[in-house]
Symmetry: C2
Subunit: 335 residues, 2 copies
């Protein structure tokens, strides 16, 4: 890739757009940008950064923007709205809400925020596996009924965790599992070898899922993963196995899951992702037996925007230097 | 200690007594003894073992017993009942129910089952710390009200766990905490140096407890630890800190704890020990805000009796060889 913009006086325009309906941790405010500029003074000199909310003034900003940070970029006539746009950074890791990517103009690179989630995902993966092993979903359900569920479980070391999706989040879950002494089966699209774990292509999922004491879903939502853990696949899980979903809700058939939790075929589930979120009050998942509802907290950090902006500045430095950006979303693959 | 009983044909009588009101995992049955004999054939040849329940036939067995395994040995006139008795092994680790030990005849050694709990305690300690860090007690409480409590927590590495009591269980919790990258403060009676952790005597607890993000109670119940975490000590904890009790209930003032959980001064608690157990249906702890009730499961393993009998046979081998027994309870210390 050619080195760009050798004239050090050239300034680029970046527009950081947020939605005020998201929680504060996912909003970029002026104060966040000022702090990030102080952490990256050399790069900051090359930038004019505008901050906007709820598309108020977005059209005007896009007329001159070279870069945009936005979890929901406008898709209709983007090239006409933003003639200079070169690169869009999403606020989150998952871009399933933007698929298919046929709206992405030629010459515009899309990058996601995969990577900000690793430390928390490792903690959450270890926590979820230990909780499933100790039957905490059933115990918490029993607590609601003031019941003393006095059942023991053996130590977790030596048991098997299958991690579906082994990207940033899945690999972090795998590390957490290995530290606890678990055997890890990583299920990925290609099944390419991954150091230290047993790697299996998703086409063979049905053949290996029955070996797992615990299944952790950490995959993005794509046409290939949607509904992957349907009733039939859940029936291939081991008796008494547990399930954690920190990927995307639509990968798992939650109705089928609830039936298997109620019957005792599966011992417990911890779900962190739902459609829609927040989970509506009338959802039966709130009171389903042996199921813990987590409010989409397993992979996020209060310093999320700080990490995101550091990542963005580093990537901007790569762009200035003519190097390949990190976390480029491949339109054909969808993540 | 002199070598005992060089005549290899001498058989000793061990009586293993259980209560049928305890859960199966804490009962010694004939089948357990047969399996243990097969695992220790040489030692088994030196033993006649009787198995009893609910004191039916206990008096007769004690007339000839050299050894007794029993979680609630008879205390009145024990020497008269059991003239040959040399050694009592308890089923559990805690002997607080047997204190004071003034009933223990001279020449009878008491050993506990400390050590069987380490693997599970390490798992449970890590689980509890991760759950407290992720505010799971508050989230589970919110689930009961169908509320989406969307609050993030930072990764656990670098935070501080204070472990009160650093015996078998506490040290296992400490190992689990260190593997998660936590700084560990071990609070013990003497404060003697412990490799790899910061060691503090209990007399200085009030001065260090405010440094902890998480406090884990893993101490036996003794006159010194009873009520140690009273309202005043809880008020010295850091704002938003969490507490886990896997030791004994009476170490912590649960009423004072509940008040501080309800006000938000402390962020969450995970309690595994109660007085009495099972926790009665009318206990306010079942529904206390930001408090998870665990049914005394954090330190026990379904293979508990197997480990106990292996420990007992190994200790019997030490006794035969004239070596000091493991896990001797010191009457003056009370554990």
């Amino acid at each position: 890739m050619p080195r760009r913009q050798t004239d050090l006086s050239t300034k680029f325009h970046a527009h950081f757009e947020s939605s005020s309906t998201k929680v504060r941790q996912f909003q970029v405010h002026d104060s966040d940008v000022r702090a990030a500029r102080r952490r990256h003074p050399e790069l900051a000199r090359r930038l004019r950064i505008t901050v906007g909310f709820d598309r108020d003034g977005l059209d005007r900003a896009l007329q001159t923007a070279d870069f945009m940070l936005n979890s929901e970029p406008p898709r209709d006539s983007l090239r006409a709205l933003a003639p200079k746009l070169k690169w869009i950074q999403t606020t989150g890791a998952g871009v399933d809400g933007l698929l298919p990517l046929d709206w992405l103009p030629d010459g515009v690179t899309l990058t996601n925020n995969s990577g900000a989630h690793a430390a928390k995902a490792q903690d959450s993966g270890a926590m979820g596996l230990l909780m499933l092993n100790a039957r905490l979903p059933a115990i918490a359900h029993a607590q609601r009924a003031k019941q003393w569920l006095h059942e023991f479980s053996s130590p977790i070391a030596g048991k098997t965790a299958l991690v579906l999706g082994f990207g940033d989040v899945g690999a972090a879950v795998g590390r957490g599992a290995q530290r606890l002494g678990l055997h890890v089966i990583a299920v990925t699209r290609s099944g390419k070898p991954i150091k230290g774990v047993e790697s299996v292509p998703v086409a063979r999922l049905a053949r290996v899922i029955g070996r797992a004491d615990f299944v952790v879903v950490a995959t993005p939502l794509t046409p290939e993963t949607r509904g992957l853990l349907d009733a039939e696949m859940l029936d291939r899980m081991r008796d008494g196995a547990g399930l954690m979903n920190i990927g995307r809700a639509a990968v798992v058939d939650y109705d089928a899951l609830c039936a298997r939790l109620a019957s005792g075929r599966l011992s417990g589930a911890i779900l962190d992702v739902f459609t829609p979120e927040p989970l509506p009050t009338d959802s039966p998942l709130w009171t389903a037996p042996n199921l813990m509802v987590l409010p989409h907290i397993t992979c996020d950090d209060p310093r999320y925007i700080e990490y995101l902006l550091d990542f963005w500045f580093d990537n901007f430095g790569r762009w200035l230097g003519g190097r390949k950006l990190k976390n480029i979303v491949e339109p054909a693959r969808g993540y």
